[in-house]
């Protein structure tokens, strides 16, 4: 009997070692340990042994069973590991192939830049205002110190709808409309489309976008104007940006200025973008003319304010290095996808 058990052990162990998958092992388990298995058969035959022999034989039989069970268990584990390894190896894919997703679109570059600008001014306490694009001559010109026959009307090449109604040539009429309906403190920006009868070319479009700004309160000074626009320029073009204020003339501000920023591309050394000057002109501004405040029903003796206006297309062209304004309105998908 002992010999028989030893043989079974050796035989089973050899088989286990040779087994290559979990199915083999299951067969081995059934063959040796199953209800009709070899070991079970032997245990059944224990009855024929003498009582003295039984305990030792019983123990040996149990040892053998345990040993086989353990061996099967271990073999199962390692086979499983191997099988998983094999599966993982088999499942290897080309990770350099392109991914799949529902493609997302994109906003227009002008929207993108406008959002950025709005964000900056919102952070400085400005609200966003709007005004009509088909505008009364009064708001577009008269109220802004540009009476009939003023040379500025020629400069701006106005589209007329009829007598007294124009396509606004600037967003500045929003200044008057805003002052008429609200009391200081006023702090707004007003982005919108404006129209001038310029023939279309790489730098001119009969329709473009301006962003107007207006601040009116007690004690507003030219220092505030400079501080606000300097902050804007730094946020928009980068912290190291410098600003330069040059005297200029607009009928509706006094004093008036044009603002240059140091070229973000060359840092002021001079390059193609800044036409070798180191500076890029970005906006016009000034202290609101007292006549304009009066027309907005605001007392210029008590309040003062500043206003500014900038061209969105120009800023976007500078920011992205776009050299033709027409691209914005052509909407070639290959252009739109770049932003």
């Amino acid at each position: 009997m002992r010999e028989e058990l030893e043989n079974i052990r050796t035989e089973a162990m050899t088989k286990i070692k040779k087994s290559i998958n979990s199915d083999n092992l299951e067969e081995i388990r059934v063959k040796y340990l199953g209800k009709k298995g070899v070991l079970t058969g032997i245990l059944r035959g224990m009855g024929s042994l003498s009582p003295e022999e039984r305990p030792a034989a019983g123990k040996l039989a149990n040892d053998v069973r345990e040993e086989i069970e353990n061996a099967i268990e271990n073999a199962k584990k390692s086979i499983k590991e191997k099988e998983r390894e094999q599966r993982l190896a088999f499942e290897t894919i080309d990770v350099t192939m392109p991914g799949k997703a529902n493609p997302i679109g994109g906003v227009h570059p002008l929207t993108k830049v406008l959002d950025e600008i709005q964000e900056i001014f919102l952070g400085m306490g400005f609200s966003v205002a709007e005004g009509p694009e088909v505008e009364l001559d009064y708001y577009n010109f008269e109220a802004l110190n540009i009476p009939k026959n003023h040379p500025a009307r020629d400069e701006q090449d106005t589209f007329y709808i009829k007598d007294g109604v124009v396509l606004r040539t600037q967003t500045s009429p929003v200044q008057i409309r805003e002052m008429e309906k609200s009391k200081p403190p006023i702090r707004i920006i007003a982005p919108g489309r404006v129209y001038r009868s310029d023939a279309v070319d790489a730098t001119h479009s009969p329709m473009f976008t301006q962003i107007e700004g207006l601040v009116v309160d007690e004690g507003i000074t030219m220092s505030d104007l400079k501080g606000t626009l300097d902050t804007f320029a730094k946020r928009f073009f980068g912290e190291s940006t410098k600003t330069k204020f040059r005297p200029h003339h607009f009928p509706f501000t006094e004093p008036s200025a044009e603002v240059d920023v140091s070229c973000f591309a060359c840092g002021g050394k001079g390059c193609r973008i800044c036409k070798n000057s180191g500076w890029i002109e970005i906006l016009g501004c000034g202290m609101v003319h007292p006549d304009v405040l009066r027309r907005g029903k605001i007392d210029p003796e008590k309040y003062s304010g500043f206003a500014f206006g900038m061209g969105l297309e120009r800023l976007a062209m500078i920011k992205y290095g776009i050299d033709d304004i027409r691209l914005f309105y052509e909407n070639d998908l290959r252009f739109l996808k770049q932003f």
Partner: protein, 791 residues
């Protein structure tokens, strides 16, 4: 305004480079457009006299010249054909540099040594490529061996200023000199206006009558025994630098004064002033007049003319007439120095299509008190040039002399307004440097503003003068103080942002198109002639028909963009635009401006794609119920594949497949899908206030239902019936299959839904669900003739 730099230095002492001067004047308010230094690059080019010209032994086209350059005689081989022996020409020596940085070295041409090159005006950078041919031949008697820059005056350079319309006083060399003096804190030198005249009196020769107030001042001087000839080289050179063509000494003097002082002048041949009388009057309608340029002009009664007893002799302030032109044999002249209303001059010049140096100065409304100085300067130059004998006396009609105006400004107010801390004494100094007389009493600046500064009227103007001379960039910067204001965005602006975000995440790109379109776009999208949508705001002076009306729909713009992309071979396009449209209003001068969302797509798309996008959008905007109803009447769209979008029982837009008639008009051979949604209606219904509902605690039960129905039965009808009969345990319904074909009879379709039931607060029992489900089935059978199928 072009200012020759050397001319400027006649009136101010500045020891700085032209670039530095330009930069600082820009910062004090005279913006430099461009600095042109013609001779900057040119070096080692001298004048030389050609001594001999011989044929080149090895080349037919070349000649060998011996040239005297004073210190030596050098040999130059050239291909030039316009030179002769004894010509004096510019010679570029070995090691010289020409315009554009071109370097010249000695070398051999076809075996013959050449020690330099003759230059054309192009090579010296003083003429355009196409305006000159051949070598520049200098005047006889030009000294040889001289630096060409000296000879041609190429060492000065000119500054081109962009002068703003309020600064009429700066349209002159002297005006800029005044600015420069203030900017560089130096003295402005006086203009030489001294001359002597004979003891005759002009009033014995000429009467002047001003019949119209548009002429504010009219002064005249007479010069006898005039010798008309070329003006001296220095004067010609300066005029050329200023962009004015020299003509003869008399005309050149008038132009010189105009450039120098900003006062246009005119010279008449006295012989042709009939009746010895000058009358300033309005022209007659259709009065014909030949201007100096030889053009016959038709005048009208809005235009001011200078006339004699019989005829006009000049269009006032614009151009003189051929009839009294200064010619070589002219003996006696009348100098006119006048002042006209700027607007009148501008309108006349516009109507005649004739903008001259004079008119562009007058239209800025120049100072009438400039007349004396200009007239005297002209006489001074007559004397200096020895051009004639000045007759004594002046005619000067000046009815309402313009007086300097007074203004009082508080220095502390200026500082408060600018945010500066400038001492009142310093303000006084700055103002006086601009010739604004200033009397400082305590804090008060009492100003007498000269008449040439009509732009300084109110205290803010004074603040500007102080600010720009102080330097805008010296004003401190600060963050706005005062009440903190919170930046806000209106609901509409927020919602537009959501629209953009949703469209972008659905794969769409935003486009922007012009708000003005051609009226023909309505034909292109097949809108009938009578349709109200054709009623648009018209531009009275459009750039062309294509930009002549303000759009009332943005669909054509979207079609145009898709057509552009299609024609460029882009085979899949998904675009959207938030586009303003302009709807005329009966009772308002201004149209209603509202925003439309236009969505357009083609390439691998179908109706349900665009509908899905719209549904997603409505979800994102918190639109509770958005219905889609069949639309078969819209001419833009496919009659069987279009839906109206209905929100709160009102039509809020349309979506569908574009009618092939329309896509044909845009040459798109693809099915195109478009939606146009009125954002106003959508935003009104938008509710973004979300409330949490607790998650269901009890399980749901799902039953599928499949039926055969007639083709024309719509999903909306079926769903309405299911909902109406689902009682309060119906949670949701979902269409999961629509099938036509095998096993489905002609004219029918198979349609299958999954219905989910759930009750709040308890687990549903089978019997309960069955009861409701059966009722639904029965209703579908009865109302729609649905036949149930096995699922």
């Amino acid at each position: 305004m072009i200012v020759p730099y050397k001319w400027l230095l006649d009136y101010v002492n500045i020891d700085k480079s032209i670039t530095e001067v330009g930069d600082e004047l820009t910062l004090s308010g005279s913006k430099v457009e461009e600095i042109i230094e013609n001779g900057k690059e040119i070096s080692k080019v001298v004048t030389g006299k050609i001594l001999s010209i011989e044929k080149h032994p090895n080349a037919d086209r070349l000649t060998i010249c011996k040239v005297d350059i004073k210190d030596e005689i050098i040999q130059i081989v050239t291909a030039a054909t316009n030179i002769r022996v004894n010509d004096i020409v510019p010679v570029a020596l070995h090691g010289s540099t020409l315009a554009g940085g071109v370097k010249i070295k000695k070398g051999k041409l076809r075996g013959v040594e050449s020690n330099g090159m003759f230059c054309s005006e192009v090579e010296l950078g003083i003429a355009d490529e196409d305006s000159v041919h051949g070598i520049m031949i200098l005047k006889e008697g030009t000294p040889i061996g001289e630096d060409i820059k000296e000879v041609l005056g190429l060492n000065g350079g000119v500054i081109d200023f962009e002068i703003t319309s309020n600064r009429a006083d700066c349209f002159s060399v002297y005006g800029i000199a005044r600015e420069a003096a203030a900017t560089f804190k130096t003295k402005l030198k006086p203009v030489n206006t001294a001359y002597s005249s004979n003891d005759e009196d002009i009033n014995d020769y000429l009467k002047v009558e001003v019949k119209d107030d548009l002429c504010r001042r009219y002064a005249a001087k007479m010069v006898k025994n005039v010798v008309v000839k070329d003006s001296p080289e220095w004067m010609q050179q300066r005029l050329k630098e200023a962009g004015i063509r020299p003509i003869n000494n008399i005309v050149d003097i008038t132009n010189y004064v105009m450039v120098e002082l900003g006062q246009p002048m005119h010279a008449y041949n006295y012989k042709f002033i009939e009746g010895s009388k000058i009358i300033v009057r309005k022209a007659e309608d259709n009065e014909k007049f030949k201007t100096l340029d030889g053009e016959e002009r038709t005048l009208n009664s809005s235009m001011l003319v200078i006339a004699d007893d019989k005829k006009p002799v000049a269009v006032a302030g614009v151009m003189g007439g051929e009839n009294s032109e200064i010619k070589n044999d002219t003996n006696t002249i009348i100098f006119e120095c006048a002042n006209f209303d700027g607007t009148s001059i501008r309108l006349t010049s516009k109507k005649l299509g004739l903008r001259t140096d004079a008119s562009s100065k007058f239209e800025k409304d120049i100072d009438p008190n400039l007349v004396e100085m200009a007239m005297n300067r002209a006489c001074n130059l007559i004397e200096e040039l020895g051009a004639g004998e000045i007759v004594g006396g002046t005619v000067d009609v000046y009815k309402n002399p313009l007086m300097p105006h007074k203004l009082t400004v508080s220095a502390s107010w200026v500082n408060k307004f600018l945010g500066t801390d400038i001492k009142p004494e310093m303000m006084k100094e700055m103002l006086e440097s601009l010739e604004i007389k200033t009397n400082l009493i305590g804090d008060e600046l009492n100003l007498v503003v000269p008449t040439f500064r009509q732009d300084v009227k109110i205290k803010e103007d004074v603040a500007e003068e102080i600010a720009r001379i102080y330097g805008y960039n010296n004003i401190p910067t600060r963050k706005i103080v005062g009440e903190t204001v919170e930046g806000t965005v209106k609901k509409d602006q927020k919602l537009k942002k959501i629209v953009r975000e949703t469209m972008v995440s659905s794969g769409f790109y935003e486009c922007t198109t012009y708000s003005f379109v051609s009226p023909k776009v309505y034909d292109k999208i097949c809108i009938p002639d009578s349709d109200a949508i054709r009623n648009a705001v018209k531009i009275s002076n459009p750039l062309g028909e294509d930009f002549s009306i303000m759009r009332t729909t943005a669909i054509p713009s979207m079609m145009e963009v898709m057509a552009t992309n299609y024609s460029r071979g882009i085979n899949e396009v998904k675009l959207f635009e938030i586009a303003k449209v302009f709807i005329p209003r009966e009772n308002d001068e201004l149209p209603e401006e509202t925003d439309k969302l236009v969505i357009g797509m083609y390439g691998g798309a179908n109706f349900y794609n665009i509908k899905g996008v719209v549904e997603n959008l409505m979800n994102a905007l918190g639109i509770e119920r958005c219905l889609f109803a069949k639309e078969s009447e819209n001419p833009i769209f496919h009659p069987g594949r279009t839906a109206k979008i209905i929100i709160r029982n009102k039509e809020a837009g349309v979506l569908g497949e574009v009618h092939p008639n329309v896509t044909d008009n845009y040459d798109i051979e693809e099915r195109v899908y478009i939606a146009e949604i009125d954002l106003n209606s959508v935003f009104k219904a938008s509710n973004l206030n979300k409330k949490y509902k607790s998650l269901p605690k009890y399980p749901s039960v799902s039953r599928d239902i499949a039926m055969l129905v007639k083709d024309e039965v719509t999903a909306a009808e079926i769903e309405d019936i299911i909902r109406a009969n689902g009682k309060d345990i119906l949670e949701s319904i979902k269409l999961f299959d629509v099938y036509k074909g095998k096993q489905v009879p002609e004219g029918m379709k198979s349609i299958a839904y999954s219905i989910t039931y759930r009750a709040e607060g308890r687990t549903l029992k089978d019997e309960e669900v069955n009861k409701v489900h059966e009722r639904i089935v029965k209703a579908l059978e009865e109302k729609l003739g649905a036949k149930l199928r096995e699922c």
